[in-house]
């Protein structure tokens, strides 16, 4: 159990990095509180696995320090850091039984046979693997094997952090749910720091208390799922999280008021805007747009039924697409309509970043 601090961390796989894009991870400082449930969310290739491997010690950072409870572990091996990691594909020791698989990390650390037995049985119960302890691990299904991988992390009672690298990739959809809630339940029970890497927003938002959103080797936003949803600090977060993603529309800002399609739009952060008016956009989620008597004039172009609500696609005269969600019992106007953006949920972005 430890508080993890990553200070001025930067990493590259290139021998002599010249341009910005050579850095797989750009410089950042980050703190992970002890016992938290974190998710690292971002598209493939954004550097999340690199970050994970830096924490676990499988990689050594090009620059910066890694501290576990104030102790510098930058150069320490994964074993010395005492961490656990579950990989994308289940890693099990084929020739061993489930029991021996779970006991392996403890036996390597020369733990007494009695204690090994206690720990293995406890973890097996936790993961519902009791009945299979005597089976050969190779014969289990993918989710069973992934449970073993997780179990090998859990048997050591003193691990500092358990990391998951897209652990549900090879699991059948109907079992993903089961394992995901199992994980959440486990976290609440053992209160150990967990870091969960994924590119699936549902997995990230359901698992984590704090989500770290990454893009092109940079951390774009850190926040609770609600914060990410209601106040995305970058248009990328707005796009990436939510289905459909946030509407991003070019606008002009004059005197704290945003102008779009000839209409004045009330925004939450308009008064903070001091800029020149270049690269300015307003962002508003489909959830916070309603049909109204006044507002942005649009034509309804498409309606998709998504069950409890409908996704309505509209288009302004200038050709901008705006999506909004309409509850199933509400009437959708034919042809021309006007849209109202909820002011407290509409933000101004400059060059992609939210104006503060």
């Amino acid at each position: 159990m430890a508080k993890i601090i990553l200070r001025d961390l930067r990493h590259t796989y290139v021998a002599s990095p010249r341009i910005d894009a050579d850095w797989a991870l750009k410089k950042f400082t980050l703190e992970w509180a002890d016992g938290g449930a974190y998710a690292l969310l971002g598209p493939s290739g954004c550097g999340k696995t690199t970050l994970l491997n830096l924490i676990s010690g499988l990689l050594t950072p090009t620059e910066g320090r890694i501290l576990f409870d104030g102790r510098d572990v930058t150069g320490a091996s994964p074993e010395e850091r005492n961490i656990a990691q579950v990989f994308q594909f289940p890693v099990i020791y084929d020739t061993m039984t489930v029991y021996d698989n779970l006991a392996f990390p403890l036996r390597n650390r020369r733990v007494s046979a009695r204690e090994v037995d206690d720990r293995v049985r406890e973890v097996a119960t936790m993961l519902e693997l009791d009945s299979m302890l005597k089976h050969r691990a190779a014969g289990l299904t993918a989710d069973g094997k992934q449970k073993i991988s997780l179990g090998r992390g859990l048997v050591r009672s003193d691990v500092n952090v358990i990391m998951f690298d897209e652990p549900l990739t090879v699991i059948d959809p109907h079992l993903k749910w089961v394992l995901r809630s199992k994980l959440k339940e486990l976290h609440q029970r053992i209160r150990r720091t967990m870091i969960y890497v994924t590119h699936d927003q549902t997995e990230a938002l359901t698992f984590a208390d704090q989500v770290v959103v990454m893009k092109d080797g940079e951390i774009v936003q850190i926040g609770t799922p609600v914060e990410l949803f209601e106040r995305p600090s970058h248009t990328f977060v707005g796009h990436f999280i939510g289905s459909p993603g946030m509407n991003v529309l070019p606008c002009e800002v004059r005197g704290g008021r945003a102008m779009f399609a000839g209409e004045t739009i009330e925004t939450a952060n308009g008064v903070s805007y001091r800029g020149e008016g270049k690269g300015v956009e307003i962002g508003v989620r489909p959830e916070f747009i309603t049909f109204a008597a006044e507002g942005v004039p649009v034509d309804v172009t498409k309606v998709l039924d998504a069950g409890r609500y409908r996704i309505v696609e509209t288009m302004t005269q200038a050709g901008h697409t705006i999506k909004l969600l309409v509850p199933e019992d509400e009437r959708i106007p034919e042809g021309g309509a006007r849209l109202r953006f909820a002011p407290e949920r509409t933000q101004i972005y400059e060059n992609g970043w939210m104006v503060t």
């Binding site: 491997n53 676990s56 499988l58 091996s77 994964p78 074993e79 961490i83 656990a84 990691q85 990989f87 994308q88 594909f89 890693v91 020791y93 084929d94 020739t95 061993m96 392996f104 990390p105 390597n108 650390r109 050969r136 014969g139 991988s149 090998r152 992390g153």
Partner: protein, 287 residues
């Protein structure tokens, strides 16, 4: 699912059937035919039943050839498999040296077998060969044309030089295909190098090693060219293996009946060993 029945499909199989018939089935049946008949000149044949089989199975000459053969195969398997595995483990996984190593390893496999025999023949000659002269200069009395042990030593050395590469290349391919995550997990689990080998590399190499051992078993059990070129089966009969014995019987003495019976027995032994070994290695997989 709907299945289309079309008898003309057999036509597509025909070329292969003809090929296999002429390359395997017909020659084999000819051998079977010879093995149950007594042959005289001018193509006259008489039925002789299992007489040749009894004769071969009771002959001391066959027993000693077979024993030599088994010993030879056991020795080279015991050397080549661990050695090949060790070399494969020591080879670099990335970087410019990978291709250098692979080319060096593939080299012995590219040399024609009779050339291999000739090379080692000259190399080991006690008067002018580098190996022969060198050993003698160091005070070791070495003459493979006269001492059975020296002949065996040279043949085993030659076979190890010639064929260990095959085990290396197969094992290397197997090692490279083990996903990185296994090594990372082992690191995190605190596994020592021996445990990594025992619980990750060896199990993952099981299929590859099974194939390597099978190939080396079959090839070494049928070793002929290199040995004939190097020692001609001598000194005396000390390096006369089954294949050499067979050729002597069939083409040297023209004893077609016994030779045919012998090749069938030979064939069955190879088949039986291979089947036994493969079944034993794979028996856990079906569970």
């Amino acid at each position: 699912m709907n299945k289309t029945v079309n008898q003309r499909a057999w036509l597509f199989v025909l070329p292969v059937v003809i090929l296999v018939a002429f390359s395997a089935i017909i020659p084999l049946m000819t051998v079977v035919n010879y093995s149950v008949q007594e042959s005289f000149g001018e193509n006259t044949f008489f039925w002789s039943g299992v007489q040749w089989f009894e004769e071969v199975l009771h002959s001391d000459r066959f027993h000693s050839s077979l024993l030599r053969q088994i010993l030879f195969t056991a020795v080279i398997l015991a050397i080549e498999v661990p050695l090949g595995l060790a070399i494969a483990l020591a080879m670099p996984r990335k970087g410019p040296w990978v291709s250098v190593c692979l080319v060096l390893m593939a080299l012995p496999l590219l040399i024609p077998w009779n050339v291999v025999g000739a090379m080692w023949n000259i190399l080991a000659l006690p008067d002018i060969g580098l190996l022969g002269r060198g050993l003698n200069a160091m005070g070791v009395e070495y003459n493979y044309t006269r001492q059975p042990f020296a002949a065996w030593f040279t043949i085993v050395l030659m076979d190890v030089w010639h064929w260990t590469s095959l085990v290396v290349l197969l094992s290397y391919a197997g090692l490279v295909s083990i996903p990185e995550a296994y090594y990372q997990a082992a690191k995190i689990d605190g596994a020592r190098p021996w445990a990594v080998f025992r619980y990750i590399q060896l199990p993952k190499l099981k299929y590859v090693l099974t194939i390597a051992i099978l190939l080396r078993f079959m090839d070494s059990f049928m070793v002929y060219t290199e040995v004939v070129v190097l020692t001609g089966g001598g000194p005396g009969n000390s390096t006369t293996f089954l294949s050499i014995d067979l050729v002597k019987t069939a083409l040297g003495q023209f004893d077609l009946g016994p030779a045919a019976a012998m090749s069938l027995i030979y064939f069955l032994i190879v088949l039986l060993f291979s089947w036994l070994f493969y079944t034993l290695m794979m028996r856990n997989e079906s569970r």
